[in-house]
């Protein structure tokens, strides 16, 4: 077996003797016999590093790594600069706890302060927290933070990804907020429905932009409807899109949230990702989670600390604005490194490439008879309809090592392009699909 206990059996014995015990069992003797485990744990025996490495590698090989991916739907393969992994591998950052002791945690704290600044800059908002678990929980927390004594209804657009809707539902099941879904109409939030159903009990309206189908919503107009009703406007945004698309601030959002995975995090079968949350100044103290602030030390030197902790559970306990305790600090570090390495030009370029490639692929698919369902402007995802069963289309691509779009149903596929998809790859998709018989 492997072990990370340094002390040898003799040393342990010596330690026990020094403090007056003769065996390890003595230290557990006060535990009632009735609750003690009889016999050994029924798990495999421990293994050496050599064996574990082999086993884990063999498990990993049972997965298929697709060289080419046209699937998004919430998780995106983007280019990740080498700098990102380089920085997140630095052990003083990797193996630290939450920076409770600010004096020896300035590195972590500064990286979060920089992250907060970048998220504010990217979204146009005033204040960002230090990150939450992922985009879906960010949406749920974003909705929850809008709850007011007299407003406990949330309206959520039917064009948000299904798993986001489900997470918001779960959180509402917990906190008792009432949830109503605004139906989808032509791939967009039904504004008429919204107008009719928003009322004085409505705490907030949540939409996603671009939405699940890749479409840009009439985000500004929706914002006006929301604000006219005195509710808060929460927008979920794809951070890469913000390189060219209007910010939630420009659309009038009060709270902006989103999935940070596209900003330098690997697909990783769904996690760890990162949820970003930013708001207007006015809602600062309602933001859940860690927040880092700048201050000075006894000598007047600039430094950073966890701040506004009065909102948090370890002070307020059951009165806290959320129970969230850890953030995704290492992921926030990755996002910070990603954004700093890409810079203004890089982020803009990634956004332009994403949307340009998506439009190229959509056009080429259309040429070979696929119907593009998007009626509105779309960013880097779009939906096709085809008489050929989605299963058959995707199978043809999979056979060539390509992960095609995400099947929404038997005949609809949600495609995604990012800057890593080359024209060559897209042309290959078209060549392959041309050969797929129409049933």
């Amino acid at each position: 077996m492997g072990s990370y206990v340094p002390n040898t059996l003799e040393e342990r014995k010596k330690m026990l003797q020094e403090i007056g015990y003769s065996s390890i069992e003595d230290l557990f003797a006060h535990i009632p016999e009735e609750v003690k485990l009889k016999g050994e744990l029924d798990i495999p025996k421990g293994k050496t590093e050599f064996e574990v490495r082999r086993e884990m590698e063999q498990i990993a090989e049972k997965n298929q790594v697709f060289r080419t991916i046209f699937r998004g739907a919430g998780a995106y393969r983007h280019f990740i600069p080498a700098m990102v992994k380089n920085v997140t591998s630095k052990e003083n950052l990797l193996t630290a706890y939450t920076p409770y002791q600010a004096e020896i945690s300035q590195g972590v704290l500064q990286s979060i302060f920089e992250y907060q600044t970048m998220i504010c800059d990217l979204t146009g908002m005033d204040v960002s927290n230090a990150s939450v678990y992922d985009g879906a929980t960010a949406a749920a927390e974003g909705v929850a933070m809008c709850q007011e004594r007299k407003r406990h209804k949330a309206l959520i657009s039917g064009t948000v990804p299904p798993y986001v809707l489900e997470v918001v539902e779960t959180y509402c099941f917990g906190n008792g907020m009432e949830l109503e879904v605004i139906p989808e109409k032509d791939g967009l939030t039904d504004k008429e429905y919204l107008k009719e159903h928003i009322d004085a009990q409505t705490a907030c309206v949540y939409i996603q932009h671009p939405n699940y189908y890749g479409n840009l919503e009439d985000a500004e107009e929706i914002g006006e409807i929301v604000h006219d009703a005195g509710a808060k406007y929460v927008m979920g945004v794809n951070p890469i899109s913000l390189g060219v698309i209007k910010t939630p601030a420009e659309y009038g959002a009060d709270v902006a949230v989103g999935e940070g995975q596209p900003l330098g995090l690997s697909l990783g079968f769904g996690g760890p990702y990162l949820g970003f949350m930013a708001s207007k100044e006015a809602m600062m103290r309602k933001l859940p989670g860690r927040i880092v602030g700048e201050t000075v030390d006894h000598n007047g030197k600039t430094g950073y600390v966890l701040t506004l902790q009065a909102r948090e559970q370890h002070i307020r306990r059951e009165k806290a604005s959320s129970n969230i305790c850890s953030n995704q600090a290492l992921c926030a570090l990755a996002v910070g490194v990603y954004l700093a390495t890409m810079g203004n030009e890089g982020v803009r370029q990634a956004a332009v490439l994403c949307t340009s490639k998506a439009h190229y692929l959509a056009e080429e698919l259309q040429k070979i008879g696929y119907k593009i369902c998007n009626k509105a402007e779309f960013f880097h995802e779009f939906v096709t309809e085809s008489a050929i069963p989605a299963e058959q289309i995707l199978k043809a691509l999979e056979d060539k090592g390509i992960l095609g779009g995400y099947p929404l149903d038997e005949h609809h596929i949600l495609w995604c392009c990012t800057e890593v998809n080359t024209k060559e790859e897209m042309d290959q998709v078209i060549r392959i699909l041309k050969e797929v018989p129409a049933c």
Binding site: N63, G270, L333
Partner: protein, 474 residues
């Protein structure tokens, strides 16, 4: 210096090629007009910047880190290697099941192992952290009672010594929190518990060993009281590192638990996350578990429990963290898992015994994996607080214990050495603790000034909260 202050317009890295297709831009009405102020630095400058940040951070790799309740054990290198395999990192969460059999095997295998270690029947890996797990667990309890149309259960009992997340999670799940005072021995006050137990109680949240580092010997009585009143028992797994292989929460009468893979199962904390907070439960709750469970023998597949509470987050949890934890469990295995716990307890008792003549222990008996000392007397006599001792430790390269927790102990310092520390490290730390005690008595002013060797000295937290400055202003 902030990365923004180092930025110069026009600098940068060359990362992406020009477009190989026609450029498409969104319509004017949706075009971003707000300027971007992301940093513009060459790669070399970025590299030095982050090198500098790393130098100003202290991890487990840098030295002893006895942060109570946080289980800062060593993070094995092999875990990181395994979580970096492209066969894990490059997998899209929505790939067809037959192309992710390896990922499903990871989830299925760790579920089995963790269920066995905890005495649970099923477990979800979806929760992203301990608090997220608590919330999940409470929703299971809620769903359970609702499924039985047992609508009157609106309260969750939480000991006053509990982690702050417990009441906060209960509140998030829509429960009223009832605080149960601790008995003088640090355990649950059984009488008070009995009084509180009634048909309006949905459940009890408890950690055992508790937050004062003691194993509550009345545990079977406690869980029995709750069960008898129709409530369920939730186990906060933060302290599991004390008892693996000796006691299983499932055998103590707990119905639902969360674990912290980033504590007990050696995955690094990353400066605050990502963690992983799997939630396990007994059979009768498993049908409410969120997300998907791995089922099947030869070919694995994902199946959503019929009455699932839904999704707690997108996809299947912090998968790459789970990979690290599974690597750890495979390494330690049947013999190593109990060995870890035993030595965590040994190390804690060793340190406690070597300090207790100077530092009064909040409870002077055999502790589990951590112990709590109270510096109330020291503070009264010398003016030196728990905070001062903590800051003094920084100058000796030791990360301080958890300060001012649990709330029921005055001027508390909570020390958790973990099993991966050597006797020499403990002896060195003991010597430093003793030296600081002496300093408190002889030269308290010097301790008030500590730390002096760190990149910054004590920071003005009050001012930070009063005048929030939460981002760089361009």
């Amino acid at each position: 210096m902030l990365v923004f202050e180092k930025s110069r317009p026009g600098r940068g890295c060359d990362l992406l090629p020009a477009s190989d297709v026609e450029i498409y831009l969104p319509e004017e009405k949706d075009k971003r007009e707000l300027p971007l102020h992301l940093p513009e630095l060459s790669e070399g400058e970025l590299s030095r910047h982050y090198t500098e940040l790393a130098k100003k951070s202290h991890g487990v790799n840098d030295g002893f880190y006895p942060l109570g309740s946080c289980t800062m054990k060593y993070n094995p290198k092999i875990n990181e290697d395994m979580a970096s395999l492209p066969g894990f990192t490059e997998i899209h969460p929505l790939q067809p099941e037959h192309t992710v059999q390896g990922c499903l095997e990871v989830i299925g295998e760790i579920e089995n192992s963790l269920c066995e270690i905890t005495g649970m029947d099923r477990m979800t890996l979806q929760p992203a952290a301990g608090a997220h797990g608590e919330f999940t667990g409470l929703l299971l309890i809620k769903a359970y009672h609702e499924s039985r149309n047992d609508e009157k259960r609106t309260k969750i009992l939480v000991p006053d010594s509990a982690h702050g997340t417990n009441p906060a999670s209960a509140a998030m799940a829509g429960y009223k929190v009832v605080s149960i005072p601790s008995a003088p021995d640090g355990g649950v006050d059984i009488e008070k518990l009995r009084e509180a137990a009634g048909d309006d109680v949905a459940g009890l949240m408890l950690t055992n060993p508790n937050t004062v580092g003691l194993f509550d010997k009345n545990i079977l009585e406690i869980t029995n009281i709750i069960h008898e009143c129709g409530g369920l028992c939730y186990y906060d797994g933060a302290n599991l590192n004390a008892v693996m292989g000796t006691v299983r929460p499932g055998d103590m009468g707990f119905d639902v638990i969360h674990l912290n893979l980033h504590k007990t199962f050696s995955t690094p904390h990353g400066g605050g996350g990502p963690g992983s907070g799997p939630v396990g439960c007994k059979e009768m709750l498993s049908d409410f578990l969120p997300s998907y469970l791995v089922e099947g023998e030869e070919t694995l597949h994902l199946e959503k429990p019929e009455n699932s509470i839904g999704e707690m987050k997108s996809f299947y949890g912090n998968f790459l963290v789970v990979v690290k934890a599974l690597t750890y469990i495979k390494t330690l295995g049947r013999e190593g898992i109990p060995e870890a716990s035993q030595n965590a307890v040994l190390n804690a008792n060793y340190m406690m015994n070597k300090l207790k003549d100077l530092y009064p222990m909040a409870y002077d008996e055999i502790c589990m994996h951590e112990f709590v000392m109270s510096l109330a007397d020291l503070k009264k006599n010398t003016g030196i607080s728990a905070m001062d001792i903590a800051k003094g430790l920084l100058d000796d390269g030791i990360h301080p214990p958890t300060m001012y927790f649990p709330l029921i102990v005055d001027e508390a310092l909570m020390v958790e050495p973990t099993e991966t520390e050597s006797k020499e490290t403990l002896d060195d730390a003991i010597a430093v603790f003793r030296k600081l005690y002496e300093l408190a008595e002889t030269d308290p002013e010097k301790l008030h000034q500590a730390p002096v060797t760190t990149p910054v000295t004590r920071l003005d937290e009050v001012n930070a909260a009063r005048h929030p400055h939460l981002r760089y202003e361009f």
